[in-house]
Symmetry: C2
Subunit: 299 residues, 2 copies
């Protein structure tokens, strides 16, 4: 059973110590899809403007992403521009132009409503709720958000958290949403908000996983040549959720493996601008890095 992802498709302009790129294909749903496609069929739900380059559409189609519910609307595509300095852990947002994103009402085909795996990538929580309400009894629902929504639409976000299985948050978001500084405490509080699985992403420091039965923590795959971390979190979510969507059991072993896949995919993501690395990957390269990661962690 395939996976449906709602989120943004964007044109990103980024500057990092390694260079500058204009109008890269980006956005939460696009990064997620490019990562999750290694594990499952991905249906993408998003909106772009008339200015959206055909080459990006062709690219996504070529990568096997189902674009049935990618709306092309009058207006401009969502644009984000940011800069990374120093240790490249935090983006400084230079500008955000919502464009057509401000009028986004997700519409999906009838057959898509039956898809059992749903990922609500970062976008307005009310839009996320709209899509979730369209779905007919999904089996597995994942959610990502961002600090902006925590501060401006906390109520909507908390309502949404009651209805999802997995919440993927970065460390600062987990702290901000719960008011807990300690990440385990923050994860426990998030668990109490609803989702049975909490994944706290710590960027270059890896991931903390929390559920009622166990917690675990893994470092990131050590990457020396970080070029552009944009989309690393969405790429992680794509690997994590993509792998999980094909599994029958949600036991510790499976969830650890899902974290590994997310970790590996996001380690590739940061090695190139935009989707340079994740778009040219193959299963063999993923497997090779996974084996290397296991070797690093083995004891």
């Amino acid at each position: 059973m395939s996976i449906i992802v709602l989120g943004t498709v964007a044109l990103d302009t980024v500057k990092t110590p390694k260079g500058k790129r204009k109008n890269l294909l980006g956005g939460s749903a696009a990064h997620f899809a490019i990562s999750a496609r290694f594990f499952n069929q991905v249906d993408l739900v998003a909106i772009v403007g008339r200015d959206f380059p055909k080459k990006h559409i062709d690219f996504l189609e070529k990568k096997g992403i189902i674009l049935t519910s990618l709306i092309k609307s009058d207006g401009k595509t969502f644009r984000w521009s940011g800069e990374y300095k120093g240790d490249l852990n935090t983006a400084l947002t230079l500008s955000t132009e919502l464009g057509v994103l401000s009028i986004f009402k997700p519409q999906i085909a009838h057959h898509q409503k039956k898809i059992k795996n749903v990922f609500l990538a970062n976008v307005d929580p009310d839009v996320q709720m709209n899509l979730l309400k369209c779905m007919h009894s999904p089996d597995l629902v994942g959610l990502d958000s961002m600090n902006y929504w925590i501060h401006t639409k906390k109520k909507s976000l908390l309502k949404l958290l009651k209805k999802v299985d997995i919440y993927v948050a970065n460390d600062q978001e987990a702290r901000d949403l719960t008011g807990e500084q300690n990440l385990i405490k923050a994860a426990r509080t998030l668990r109490a908000y609803g989702p049975r699985f909490i994944v706290v992403k710590k960027g270059e420091h890896g991931v903390l996983f929390y559920c009622d039965k166990f917690i675990f923590s893994y470092p990131a795959f050590p990457v020396e040549g970080v070029v552009d971390p944009t989309g690393a979190g969405d790429t992680f979510a794509g690997g994590f959720m993509g792998y999980l969507s094909k599994q029958k059991r949600m036991d510790e072993k499976t969830l650890k493996r899902a974290v590994f896949y997310g970790t590996i995919l996001s380690s590739f993501n940061v090695e190139g601008f935009g989707m340079d690395k994740t778009s040219s990957l193959n299963q063999r390269a993923i497997k090779a890095r996974l084996d290397k990661f296991k070797k690093i962690l083995a004891f």
Copy 2:
């Protein structure tokens, strides 16, 4: 063969979200010793003033630390006062009173010069060099430092780095000393400065280990109730170096195990003020947490 540690013995006053404590036994050598004693005999080299409470001396002796070269000098004991806020990752130093530390010239007994395992815990790099010069062909020399020395005595520190086997640095120190933001690159540069083993401590995010043959990375042991992180790095070094000092081989398995012991010891350290937790530990509690850590990491 025992281990000799040079560093500070201090009176610490700390304030954390969990409370405030005055004149706790602290200092780099003291924290190191209390941790390393679980693995080997520890000879401590440091200086205190006439005001140093007898109860702390009694405590260290009771814990089996050899105090032959703990100098008691006219003047005041080194005092540090700091505060931790928010996520407790960074200490805000409120005051530092060097006292007798400013006149410290390490003196050790003749038989101590033959000790094969040396740890130069954080103190003036010139003082570290003084001790190192006293030692007769040690087998294994570890070094810790701090940002203050990187900025004020970089030349002395670089000279020292040429003569040690292991450099234990925190992430910011590694970045500051090398000018490299990426931690793997920073570790490689530190390796080029001399030490064959580089250990980058990342606080609550665990450890990155670098040597010519392999690198590996582990998260910290997840601790929910962080009370006071003072001395966590020294406690890590004590567990790491303590374990290593008893091993014949320095292969990947051994070094990973050393990192595990450092990780476990420091996870206890942060759960109490000063040495509250590490002083009351036993081998069984260490073993139990090590097993738990392995279970968390297993895949």
